[in-house]
């Protein structure tokens, strides 16, 4: 049970949130990229052994979609990717 900092509600239990997946690069203009680039955008996500930027939806709270950096090795929530121990 993570303790997730919501920018509006403060620290809240993970069970109030729905997981929204890792943050992907911005969606490319579909007609400006090759097939392979488009497929990579769709199917590949960052999968670091360490901090990952990810989204959570505070669905049982204020409804905001928020972004955190979480270390996949420890579950620690860190300020920035470089902060992991």
């Amino acid at each position: 049970m993570l303790n997730i900092p919501c920018p509006f509600c403060g620290q809240r239990n993970e069970s109030e949130f729905a997981y929204g997946g890792p943050v992907k690069p911005d969606r490319p203009q579909p007609d400006k990229v090759s097939n392979d680039q488009w497929v990579d955008y769709l199917t590949q996500v960052p999968n670091p052994l360490g901090p990952v930027e990810e989204r959570w939806w505070h669905v049982k709270g204020c409804g905001t979609w928020l972004t955190i950096w979480r270390d996949t090795r420890t579950h620690d929530i860190v300020e920035e990717p470089g902060d992991a121990g």
Binding site: L2, N3, R27, P30, W38
Partner: protein, 885 residues
């Protein structure tokens, strides 16, 4: 007769005798006893048979570490596999031994002992292959498994959960934990202190020590009294901290005696900081036949004599490799137990320690090689470590101490690291991984003074107060020289008593190449019992280290996993059972449906809907057919309220809908609606539904029932993360609008009979339009959509009007033969008309072309979700299935 009970002393209440039965025989104990202490007081030594060889076994420990004396409770509090040392005695308790039949005295399974030489570790991997495992499995399974599972849920009482929030959670109320609590509580911190024992005090309850020149029990009582006066302290006894999760989230299961209807309460605690004051666990020694009833941990013998006022033997031998057992010898002697000898594997015993017992023979540099006796200990064989002549010493109690292991389980669960301490010969906490610290014996502070100081210091540093005053205490120092196994052992020397794992088994594993410590554990099953090897795992590691000639640092303990001690599933679930788990959603028509005899079921997204409305004598198929015919030939009505309904407002709604639907929505005029598909960007169908335009800036998006929540999430995510500057606001209005959908060729007649000020002619209200007005005197929005393929009017009203509307529809429709129809008929009607059947034809793998719905893919829009992907997929060579017919 409590033949071995002492006349005075102990923390039992001789004024409250309690009756209980064990293996069908009646006994008496006292309030304050555990089942184990009551059995010992009654002279019962043989309590169980072992798992594999069915060897006679007795009580070895006095707490959660007990590897041997497992019992099954029957009657009201039926439960399996309880260590007798943790079962608090109560009047009427019924217990029996596990793993033997008919009794531990006459056990037919003991035939296994005779063939034990053919049953080494992992024997089952090498045999039972012919003709196949199925031939052997049933009898093997029957033999395994310890006790039988309870057949029924608990007859009375309930479980519950509670949340706990504190600045500091202290696990353990021994001397270190109590000191930490006292310092933190006085500094005003919100403190929660949880201890697994019946009463606070930890090791102080078992030992005879003084604090501030008085019996340590006084200090414990004073400390508890002070803590209980403070509003910022929550103090739990009978409360096991069993899991330490991420973000300082811990589980504590509490058994309360003050509320008999509450079986157990599970606390979910979020702590600012955690102090692990979980004490230390004494380890056993490994010599021949070290499992015979009468062989006991020294600390257990000490606890029985001091805390429970009983004599665990008449004549005792102490076998040790460290100093702590000397105090045990003293305590036993004081209680009248004859100390035959102290066998110390160390060549030199510290002088101060030796001085504590004047008149006892100490065999320094000696070991116990084996025990004598049958189902009861009669003596031990003692020999010099260096080899030489052995001698027999008769005794009925062997109190052994292999040294102490800090109880690092919680620490390790929190991901804190461990290091091997050469001086203490054990693993101790090293670096914390979360906001936690380790104090007292759990941190390797094995004397009372050190323990109390470390508890006080840890709390003081958290509270930023100055160093706290430490009470004066009288403990002796601790030193040890590890003895992982007795080399001269004669007979099986058990490393894991519960799973019958011997030194030979470990040697065999190593010989066969299973030489990683995890391999040894899995191949021999050592440490995989209910006790998770609390007394024996370290000896396995030590035995491997000796054999491989590597230091213990390089082997490391095996993983400590939650729970620390077994926890009932009931406590984990708490009050969550039945309808509380996933509450139903239902509409105002539910009662009417039930009165009408509807078969109600879960229809996705937790909505409880009528599946069909059976009549007497109809089969399921008859009913569905009849309901379908009603819609095709006459008129039917269904409750469409569970459909997801979202109101979108703002300047950019049209643009947004054009992005999420595959067709164009922005061109709709107010009053119009359009059917559309929503695709994922992978080009797969997410959902279908209808969008209505209310006015320039307001729209209604309706979704399927099952996908409503997912679509809401999808829309919010897009708006908040990709288009934060678009002017769109979403309000969920699923429960603000209910609807009754009248469908069938005679639907318009029913609507007319209801009386409405809306012109429902197909010219005024064509397909895919809507109008607001009055229906049956109620404010309503009538929408011309159809999911059945027949003429349909969806009459939307406020929920408070739904029941009235429904009653009036049934009344007005009666002359036209109106019937309610359920979800099953709805499915059939959809499919017959070639509409999408979500969940079946649309199962997350198909796109619009697969379904022959290419027409819904806009060619005019340059981009929308899924467009690029659908086109890309068509470029490939792959053959795809296509829906036909």
């Amino acid at each position: 007769m409590q033949v071995d009970r002492l006349a005075a002393g102990g923390r039992i209440d001789r004024g409250r005798p309690l009756s209980f039965t064990f293996n069908g025989k009646a006994y008496q104990g006292f309030a304050g006893d555990t089942l184990a202490s009551a059995l010992l007081a009654n002279g019962v030594r043989l309590t169980a048979r072992s798992f594999k060889y069915h060897r006679p076994r007795g009580i070895i420990g006095s707490g959660v570490e007990e590897p041997s004396a497992l019992v099954e409770l029957t009657g009201d509090d039926a439960s399996a596999n309880q260590p007798a040392t943790t079962v608090q005695l109560r009047d009427g308790l019924q217990a029996k031994s596990v793993n033997c039949w008919p009794s531990p005295v006459v056990d037919f399974g003991s035939v296994n002992q005779m063939i034990s030489r053919f049953l080494p570790a992992g024997f089952y991997y090498k045999t039972f292959k012919w003709p196949n495992w199925h031939l052997y499995e049933p009898s093997i399974r029957k033999a395994a498994g310890l006790a039988a599972a309870p057949q029924n849920p608990p007859a009375g009482g309930h479980f519950e959960n509670r949340f706990g929030h504190c600045d500091i959670l202290i696990a353990g109320a021994g001397p270190a934990g109590l000191m930490a609590a006292l310092v933190a509580a006085r500094a005003g911190k919100r403190v929660m202190i949880a201890d697994e024992g019946r009463e606070a005090g930890g090791s102080l309850l078992n030992r005879r020590l003084t604090i501030n020149c008085r019996d340590a029990a006084h200090w414990v009582a004073e400390t508890i009294a002070e803590l209980n006066t403070l509003a910022n302290v929550t103090h739990l006894q009978n409360a096991s901290v069993w899991a330490y999760r991420e973000h300082n989230y811990l589980m504590v299961t509490e058994r309360t005696s003050d509320n008999p209807s509450l079986i157990e309460r599970n606390w979910r605690v979020r702590a600012g900081h955690v102090i692990c004051a979980t004490g230390a666990i004494e380890r056993s020694l490994v010599f021949g036949n070290n499992d015979r009833p009468g062989v006991m941990l020294a600390s257990a013998a000490q606890s029985y004599v001091n805390r429970y006022a009983l004599r665990p033997g008449k004549r005792a031998v102490i076998f040790t490799n460290n100093d702590s057992a000397y105090a045990v010898a003293n305590d036993l002697a004081t209680a009248g137990v004859d100390i035959a000898a102290i066998v110390d594997s160390r060549n030199e015993v510290p002088r101060e320690v030796r001085a504590t017992i004047q008149e006892t023979d100490v065999f320094a540099g000696h070991v116990v090689t084996t025990t004598k006796g049958g189902r009861k200990l009669r003596g031990v064989e003692v020999a010099p470590v260096e080899g030489g002549k052995s001698q027999q010493i008769s005794c009925d109690l062997l109190a052994m101490s292999g040294g102490w292991n800090p109880a690092v389980h919680l620490w390790s669960q929190s991901r804190g690291t461990l290091r091997y301490d050469d001086q203490l010969a054990c693993y101790v906490p090293d670096q914390p991984a979360q906001a936690s610290s380790s104090v007292g014996a759990a941190d390797g502070k094995l004397t009372l003074k050190e323990a109390m100081k470390s508890g006080a210091d840890a709390a003081a540093s958290l509270c930023a107060t100055g160093p706290a005053a430490i009470p004066q205490s009288d403990d002796i120092d601790y030193s040890i020289s590890p003895l992982w196994r007795v080399e001269q052992a004669q007979g099986p020397a058990f490393l894991d008593i519960q799973n019958d794992v011997t030194v030979d088994d470990v040697h065999l594993a190593l010989r066969e190449g299973y030489d990683n410590i995890e391999h040894v554990k899995r191949y021999t099953t050592g440490g995989m019992g209910l006790d998770q090897g609390k007394t024996g795992n370290i000896n396995i590691v030590g035995t491997v280290a000796l054999q491989k000639d590597v230091p213990l640092q390089d082997l490391g303990p095996t993983t400590f996993r939650s729970p620390y001690t077994p926890v009932s599933f009931g406590a984990i679930a708490g009050i969550r059972e039945g309808s509380v788990v996933q509450p139903y959603r239902h509409t105002p028509i539910t009662e009417w449906n039930l009165d009408r005899g509807a078969f109600m079921y879960e229809a996705g997204a937790r909505w409880r809907r009528p599946g069909y409305f059976p009549r007497d004598g109809e089969s399921f198929q008859d009913t569905v057919n009849r309901e379908c015919r009603t819609v095709r030939n006459g008129v039917g009505v269904y409750d469409g309220s569970p459909l997801g309904t979202y109101e979108l407002k703002g300047r950019d709604v049209g643009r947004f809908l054009d992005h999420i639907y595959s067709n164009i929505m922005s061109t709709l005029k107010p009053g119009q609606g359009r059917y559309g598909l929503m695709l994922s960007d992978d080009g797969l169908i997410l959902d279908d539904g209808v969008a209505l335009r209310l006015d320039e800036y307001r729209w209604i998006v309706s979704t399927s029932t099952g996908h409503a929540d997912a679509i809401n999430s999808h829309m919010e995510e897009l708006l908040q993360t990709q288009f934060p500057d678009w002017n769109v606001f979403i309000t969920t209005v699923t429960s603000q609008w209910n609807n009754a959908t009248i469908c069938g060729p005679r639907a318009r007649d029913v609507l007319a009979a209801l009386s409405t000020d809306i012109d429902t002619s197909s010219q005024a209200l064509p397909f895919m339009t809507f109008a607001d007005g009055q229906v049956a005197g109620l404010p309503a929005r009538v929408v011309r959509v159809s999911f059945t393929g027949e003429l349909s009017f969806e009459i939307n009203v406020a929920p408070r009007h739904m029941r009235e509307l429904w009653a009036k529809i049934m009344e007005a429709g009666a002359p036209h033969g109106i019937e309610p129809i359920g979800s099953e008929a709805n499915h059939v009607l959809r499919v017959e008309k070639g509409f999408l059947s979500l969940g079946h034809e649309v199962d997350g793998t198909v796109d619009a072309h697969d379904l022959g719905m290419g027409w819904v893919m806009s060619k005019k829009k340059s981009d929308y979700l899924g467009k690029r992907s659908v086109n890309l997929r068509r470029e490939g060579e792959a053959v795809r299935r296509e829906l036909v017919g």
